[in-house]
C-alpha cells in the first residue's frame, strides 16, 4: 500500500471510530437529552470530514456516500427530519457501508466494490421529506443584538430557534483570557456549560487594534438548571452571567412535518456470522502513536548507543592491559552489562506500550453490532460496557473480535430469555449483558456476564450421556460438566437460529484464546445468569520465560503460566493408580515429565532431589519434573515451521543470546497432551 493510501486509511479509521461512537451514543440517549444536538452535530462533522478526506484522494464513490450521509445529518441537525428509531437504523446501516468501503480501499480494491445505490436511494427519500422553516430574526424573540443571525452558522441559528421554541432559559457570558492559555480555560467553561445545558455559540471578540496578548470571547448558552445555581457556578470561577430575556412570548412554531413515516430498514446483507465479524474488526493494521512516546524511545536508544560504545572502549583496553588491569576491566564490563540490561527492559516496555490501544475501540464497534443482533431477535436487551480505558495489544484485541462476538451472540440468543419467560421468573423485563475489561497483573481480563437463564447443568449431562461421554451414573463436578461445552459441536439448543449460524461454537472460542496464550472459564447459576471470563496476556511479542533443562534439552516456559517452582526429595512423590503425584498444601498435583509428553528418550540418572515446575491455566494445575532450573529470561517467540504443526505443547521457538535455539512450551497444549496420556483427568 503506498504511503498516501496508508495515511488515508489511518485517518479514515479515526473518523470511523468517531462515527461508531456517535451512533452508539445516539442509540443510548433518550430523545430529550440535552446532549443530543451536540452528538448529532459531531456526527455531521465526522461525515463531512470523511467526505472531504475521501474527495482529496479521488475516492468518488466513498465521498459520494459520505456526501449523502452528511446531507441527511444536516437535515436531522436542523430538525427538518426527526431522529426516530427508523432513522437511527438507517444511519447505522450507513456507517456499516462506510466501514465496508474503507476496508475495501484499504485492501487495495476500488471503492466502487461496495454497491450503495439502494442505500443512497433510501437516503434521498428521507431527505426529500423535510420542510424548510421561515422565521423572523432572532432578535424578535430574544434580547440579542439585531443582526446576530448573520454571524451565526445555519446550524447555530437553528439551535437558537429550537431552544426558543422550547422556552429554555438563555444566558450569555463574556470572558477574556491570555492568548497562551485561552483554549484550556475556555474548555473548562464549555464543559461546565455542557453539564447542564447546551453551548450555542462561541464568538471570538473582534479587537479594536492594539494589544493582542489576550483574546476575548462571547458565549451564548442554555441551561435547564435553576437560575441561581447557574449564576453561582459561574461566579465561582469569577465570571458574570447575563440572563438573556425573552422578548415576545414565542408561539410554539409548528415543528415541520415530515412525510416519511417510521422507515423500514434494509440492512444491506445478512450473511450471518462472518459479515458481522467483518463489521467489528478494525480496518487497518496501524496504531496512532503519541509523539512523546516516540521521543522517549529515541532517548532510550540513544542511551543504549552510549553504553555500547563504552563497552567497545573497554574491549579495546583489554587488548593492552596487565592482568590486574584486565580484572578491573572485567568488573566494568559487568557493570555495563547490568546497565544495558536495565535500559533494554525500559526499551521493551516502551515499545510494548506503543502497541497498546484501549478496549473502548472494540467496545464501540461491538455495541453497534450487538444492538443489531438483539433487535433481530426481538428481545429487549441492554448492553453495558465497563473498563473501556483498559489497554491491550492491538493484535490481541483484533484476535478477540471473533470470540467476544461469539459469546455475546450466545448470550443474546440462548442466554437472555423472552420477555414472557423473564416476567414469569419476576426478572427485569429488560435483559442485561455486561462486558467488562480490567487489568490483573500481566493479564487483561474480559468478562461477559448476562442475567439470562444460566446453563442447565442437568441438560448438559443428558447430552453428554447421549454422546457416551459420561458413563451411567457417574457424578461430575460443576467444572467438569461445564467443560463439555467446550467440545466441538456440543450444543444445548436444538434448533440453530439464524443469528448464531452454525451452532454454539465454544470450542472455537477456546481454541482461539489458547492460541494467543489465554484462557476461558465459565460460571453459571440456573435462572440467574452466566459469566464468561477470558484471561489474556497483555502482549504477545516479548515474554518472560523460565528456562528449564530436562534430559539435556533446554526448554522455556512462559512465566505467566508458571505458578511456582520447588525442589523436593524424590520420596515425596507418590504413585496412585499408575500416576505420579505430589501433595502440595493439601492439594494433589499430578506430575509428568516432558520426555513422556513428547515421547523422547529419558536420561538414566534420576536426581534424588528433582525440581518441579507447577504450571497452570485458570484453575487447573500440574507439575513438570525437570533436572534443572536455569532462571528467567526475556524471549521473543517465533513460530515454528510447518514440520512442527500438529505437535501439541509447543508455542514456538526463541533465540538465546548465545545464538542457540530453545523450544518454548505451550502450557495449554501440554495439559491436553497430559490428559490424552492419562496423566491428567479427562477435564479438557
Amino acid at each position: 500500500m503506498d504511503q498516501s493510501l496508508r495515511d488515508f486509511v489511518s485517518e479514515a479509521e479515526d473518523i470511523l471510530d468517531n462515527l461508531e461512537e456517535s451512533i452508539s451514543l445516539l442509540m443510548d440517549l433518550s430523545p430529550d437529552d440535552h446532549r443530543k444536538p451536540d452528538i448529532i452535530n459531531a456526527f455531521f462533522r465526522h461525515a463531512h470530514s470523511l467526505k472531504g478526506l475521501s474527495g482529496m484522494l479521488n475516492l468518488t464513490n466513498l465521498s459520494g456516500l459520505a456526501h449523502h450521509f452528511e446531507s441527511l445529518l444536516d437535515s436531522i441537525r436542523l430538525d427538518k427530519i426527526p431522529l426516530n428509531e427508523g432513522v437511527i437504523e438507517v444511519l447505522s446501516g450507513g456507517v456499516q457501508l462506510i466501514v465496508k468501503m474503507v476496508r475495501s480501499v484499504a485492501s487495495g480494491e476500488s471503492d466502487a466494490a461496495v454497491d450503495v445505490t439502494f442505500f443512497i436511494e433510501e437516503l434521498e427519500n428521507l431527505e426529500s421529506g423535510g420542510v424548510p422553516s421561515h422565521d423572523e430574526d432572532l432578535s424578535v424573540y430574544l434580547n440579542v443584538p439585531e443582526g446576530i443571525t448573520s454571524v451565526l452558522s445555519e446550524y447555530e441559528e437553528h439551535r437558537f430557534r429550537d431552544n426558543i421554541r422550547k422556552k429554555v432559559p438563555f444566558y450569555s457570558v463574556e470572558c477574556s483570557f491570555p492568548i497562551e492559555t485561552f483554549d484550556v480555560q475556555l474548555k473548562e467553561i464549555t464543559e461546565l456549560i455542557k453539564e447542564g445545558g447546551e453551548l450555542l455559540t462561541t464568538l471570538p471578540q473582534t479587537d479594536s487594534g492594539g494589544d493582542s496578548s489576550s483574546i476575548g470571547f462571547f458565549l451564548y448558552f442554555t441551561s435547564r438548571d435553576e437560575e441561581s445555581a447557574v449564576i453561582n457556578s459561574f461566579m465561582d470561577i469569577g465570571l458574570d452571567l447575563v440572563t438573556v430575556e425573552y422578548r415576545t412570548s414565542p408561539e410554539a412554531a409548528p415543528k415541520p412535518e415530515v412525510g416519511a413515516s417510521a422507515l423500514s430498514v434494509s440492512i444491506m446483507e445478512d450473511g450471518g456470522s462472518d459479515v458481522l465479524e467483518e463489521e467489528v474488526r478494525g480496518v487497518s493494521n496501524t496504531v496512532r502513536v503519541d509523539i512523546q512516546k516516540l521521543d522517549y524511545l529515541m532517548n532510550l536508544v540513544g542511551e543504549l548507543v552510549i553504553l555500547r560504545s563504552g563497552l567497545a572502549g573497554i574491549a579495546e583496553r583489554t587488548g593492552t592491559g596487565s592482568e590486574t588491569e584486565i580484572s578491573s576491566l572485567v568488573l566494568e564490563i559487568e557493570k555495563s552489562s547490568v546497565l544495558i540490561e536495565r535500559k533494554l527492559v525500559d526499551l521493551r516496555d516502551a515499545v510494548m506500550d506503543i502497541r497498546m490501544v484501549p478496549m473502548g475501540q472494540l467496545f464501540n464497534r461491538l455495541q453497534r453490532v450487538s444492538k443489531k443482533i438483539a433487535r433481530e431477535t426481538g428481545k429487549n436487551i441492554r448492553i453495558e460496557f465497563h473498563g473501556g480505558e483498559t489497554e491491550l495489544d492491538k493484535m490481541i484485541m483484533e484476535e478477540m473480535v471473533s470470540p467476544l462476538l461469539h459469546i455475546v451472540r450466545n448470550s443474546i440468543d440462548h442466554g437472555i430469555e423472552s420477555a414472557e419467560d423473564r416476567e414469569a421468573k419476576r426478572k427485569n423485563p429488560e435483559g442485561l449483558i455486561r462486558l467488562s475489561a480490567y487489568q490483573q497483573g500481566s493479564h487483561v481480563v474480559l468478562e461477559v456476564e448476562d442475567d439470562g437463564r444460566g446453563i442447565d447443568l442437568a441438560q448438559v449431562m443428558n447430552i453428554a450421556r447421549e454422546r457416551g461421554l459420561v458413563q451411567g451414573d457417574e457424578v461430575l463436578s460443576e467444572d467438569e460438566i461445564l467443560s463439555f461445552l467446550f467440545l466441538p459441536g456440543f450444543s444445548t439448543k436444538v434448533t440453530v437460529s439464524e443469528v448464531s449460524g452454525r451452532g454454539v461454537g465454544m470450542d472455537i472460542v477456546k481454541r482461539e484464546l489458547e492460541e494467543i496464550g489465554g484462557t476461558v472459564e465459565v460460571n453459571t447459576t440456573l435462572d440467574v445468569g452466566t459469566r464468561m471470563v477470558l484471561t489474556l496476556p497483555i502482549t504477545l511479542a516479548i515474554l518472560q520465560a523460565l528456562m528449564i533443562k530436562s534430559s539435556e534439552n533446554l526448554y522455556a516456559i512462559p512465566m505467566g503460566a508458571v505458578k511456582e517452582t520447588l525442589q523436593i526429595p524424590r520420596k515425596q512423590i507418590k504413585t496412585i493408580e499408575g500416576r505420579e503425584i505430589i501433595t502440595l498444601r493439601d492439594t494433589m498435583i499430578p506430575l509428568f515429565s516432558l520426555e513422556k509428553i513428547f515421547d523422547l528418550p529419558v536420561q538414566d540418572v534420576e536426581s534424588s532431589e528433582p525440581y518441579i515446575v507447577i504450571i497452570g491455566i485458570g484453575t487447573r494445575a500440574m507439575g513438570i519434573l525437570v533436572d534443572d532450573l536455569l532462571g528467567n529470561q526475556d524471549v521473543v517467540i517465533k513460530p515454528l515451521g510447518e514440520a512442527f504443526e500438529g505437535i501439541e505443547g509447543l508455542a514456538g521457538a526463541a533465540e538465546l543470546g548465545d545464538q542457540s535455539t530453545v523450544l518454548v512450551l505451550d502450557v495449554g497444549g501440554l495439559m491436553m497432551e497430559a490428559v490424552r496420556l492419562g496423566a491428567l483427568d479427562r477435564k479438557v
Binding site: S4, D7, F8, E11, R45, H48, S49, K51, G52, L53, G55, M56, L57, N58, S63, H67, E70, S71, S150, V151, S153, E154, I179, E180, F182, D183, L186, T201, T202, L203, P204, Q205, T206, D207, S208, G209, G210, S212, S213, I215
Partner: protein, 122 residues
C-alpha cells in the same frame, strides 16, 4: 520579501496537501494551524499575508474565524480564502457575506489554489 500564509485545516492529509502546494510557490512561508483555536493563537505571532481556512472544524468553525479576522483592526486587511466542500452552498454564501475574499471547493487541483493565492498576494 517572503510572504506568510496561515493554513487552518483540521484534517492532517488535506492540510499537508495544501501546505505542500503553497510551499511550491516562490517566496512563501507557511504557518499551520490544526484548529480554529490554534489559528487564533498564531494570528498575532505570525501576522500572515493571507489566510486559507477550512470551514468545518471542531472548536470554532471557519466562518467564525472569518468574522473575527475581518472584524479586527489588526487583521481585517488580510485576504481570506475559504475551503468548502461540494454541496455546502450555505457555508460558502455566509463565508463570503462575512467578508471572505475567495472560496475554493475541495477536492481541488493544487494549481487552482496556487492561482488564487498568487492573485491575492499581488
Amino acid at each position: 520579501m517572503r510572504k506568510t500564509i496561515l493554513v487552518v485545516e483540521d484534517s492532517p492529509i488535506t492540510r499537508s496537501l495544501i501546505v505542500s502546494s503553497m510551499e511550491d510557490l516562490p517566496h512563501i512561508r507557511v504557518v499551520e494551524a490544526e484548529s480554529g483555536f490554534e489559528a487564533l493563537r498564531k494570528l498575532p505571532e505570525s501576522t500572515p499575508d493571507l489566510i486559507i481556512t477550512d470551514i468545518n472544524m471542531p472548536d470554532i468553525n471557519g466562518l467564525e474565524l472569518v468574522r473575527f479576522a475581518k472584524g479586527s483592526e489588526n487583521y481585517k486587511h488580510i485576504p481570506i480564502i475559504i475551503v468548502t466542500t461540494e454541496g455546502r452552498d450555505v457555508d460558502k454564501e455566509r463565508g463570503l457575506a462575512l467578508g471572505a475574499d475567495r472560496y475554493i471547493i475541495k477536492p481541488f487541483e493544487p494549481a487552482a489554489l496556487q492561482e488564487q493565492v498568487t492573485q491575492l498576494l499581488d
